[in-house]
Amino acid sequence: MSREVQAGEKMSGIRVISGGMLTTVQDKGRYGYQASGMQVSGVMDAVAAKLANALVGNDELAEDAAVLETTYLGPELEFGQDALAAVAGGMPDVQLDGVAVQPYEAIRVRAGQRLKIAAQKAGLRAYIAVSGGFATVSALGSRSTNLKLGLGGFMGRKLAAGDVLPMGSAGDYAAKALSGRAGLRKVPKDYVENFVNQGFNAADEGRKNRQIRAVLGPQEDYFSQQSIEKFTASVYIVSENSDRMGYRLQGMAVEKAKQQDLITDGIAFGSIQIPPDGQPIIMLADHQTTGGYPKLATVATVDLPLMAQSMPGDSLQFRLISVQEAQRLLRQQHEELASVISRMQQQAAVAESCTGAKQFRLTVNGEIFDVTIKQE
């Protein structure tokens, strides 16, 4: 059960020292209740969350392991027990007991150590995974935090100092990696570089526009061909008025050709709504289930991580693709991700001692040290 820790209480799990700007427990989302008007929530950048989970061996677990989603300034966490941890998403500045450690790599954290996500050097949201996942109470089949309803996650809210997050049972890989019988998984460098920089044009073109692919519809008949062309030719800036529910964009107003009111209908993750002022709103993970503004297009799922990592001031440009193309790109992204995870698994399957490094665990004055000796 999630609860707040009492002073002097012996702790297992993970204690929040500081909550950061907006850190929430999320998994893939709460599906099956949209017909009741309940938002799905869930991680904004599903690819980064999946990488973080795979780094700590949560890909072995039967159920969807929950992660922490940070927003620009992350939390500081004190571990009450040994665990594997990993941070992915954008380019976060990660510290273990004040010493810089690498994102996109598994980290051995010992009981008593503190993991801190200081800031994002690129992107907006980082995902913190721990071996076994964050095991807060599941509400209606999901641990995702629904901030509007105060449901799921840790007491339905963002994390704050003093919260204690329980951890689930870790898989086989995590146990091996913690005792030095398996190496630490790392996301290959080339993949990280592509992943963090994707969607940007070459740097020498001045201001970088993120290229976002989208599928036309469902209400394209509310707009003239000309205003659709203007929409794809324009550059839109992510406004300050952007959150997990949606991003309000600023740029060329999209004019409606049909003035008839739309009868409220369903909204998808990525729906591009056009309100009366013509400034597009991209509906994201916490979007309401239905709405009455016409929706010009929907961001392709393959590019939702790019949307999630965009921050106020970033510029976006939309390109329309067919639904078949969007699905092909998604399958391709999925296959690449599976192959990267499989490479990570193989690379770390054996202990580092077999690959030219030796590992010891020393206990000095009750403190545990992991020592690795590398033979060049």
């Binding site: 008007g37 998808a268 729906s271 309401q288 239905t290 639904v323």
Partner: protein, 236 residues
């Protein structure tokens, strides 16, 4: 099973690569909405017997059914084909099996601070407003906006009242109100501009329940006036 064949004129609307909407018309009417709930039932059935895989969930609205699916398990072209076959063979349920949910409401006073204002606006007494409001069986066309909030049809036109000029910051869960030609029930506490005429002790949204939401699209709502004492007894 008796029923009528579903006519042509159905539109498939794209909602990106992981959802689509099947639209049965562009008007708010029980006839169009019945097709939406019928398709939802047919899809549920097809999923149950394994004739359709890759469906994540379906979301009924006034005129269309949004279908959320997993494109890694089910491609758009295949889904479209399967849906067309389902719609072709779709039968509408017998109207005899109407599910009516009775909603007890204490009208007026602190629970319905705008009852007198609504009555005055139409030159009626508060009793007449209550009688007109509690007479019909209101169809629940869809849920949306917030968890458990029903979009109801069928309010007596004589009760149509504009929204409040300045919205209230806090309206209690269970509040029953009127906005234009619509009536509704606040399922969770929220700000809003509806004219509040009463309140129900029933929870339309209850996070602690396995079925967190009281109403569902396709059912009907009937308001039953109760006294404050009954309301308080039911709140316990």
């Amino acid at each position: 099973m008796t029923g009528e064949e579903v006519p042509a004129g159905v539109r498939f609307l794209l909602l990106g690569d992981s959802a689509l909407s099947v639209e049965f018309g562009q008007e708010i009417s029980p006839a169009v909405n019945r097709r939406v709930t019928a398709l939802r039932r047919c899809i549920d059935e097809a999923v149950k017997v394994g004739r359709l895989t890759g469906i994540v969930e379906t979301v009924p609205t006034y005129c269309s059914l949004m279908i959320v699916y997993d494109p890694l398990a089910l491609g758009y072209d295949e889904l479209r084909e399967k849906l067309a076959a389902i719609i072709d063979g779709m039968k509408l349920a017998d109207e005899g099996k109407r599910q009516v949910v009775e909603i007890p409401v204490v009208y007026g006073g602190e629970y319905g601070p705008d009852l007198e204002e609504v009555a005055d606006a139409h030159g009626m007494t508060a009793e007449e407003v209550i009688r007109l409001h509690s007479a019909p069986e209101y169809p629940v066309y869809m849920l949306g906006f917030v968890a458990g909030f029903p979009y109801l049809g069928g309010m007596d036109e004589r009760l149509a009242t504009p929204r409040k000029k300045s919205p209230r910051l806090k309206i209690a869960a269970g509040s029953v109100g009127i906005a234009g030609g619509q009536t509704g029930i606040y399922s969770v506490e929220s700000p809003g501009g509806w004219q509040i005429i009463g309140r129900t002790p029933l929870k339309l949204y209850d996070a602690d329940s396995e079925n967190p939401v009281l109403l569902s699209a396709g059912c009907y709502v009937k308001f039953k006036p109760v006294l404050e004492a009954e309301f308080k007894a039911m709140m316990k």
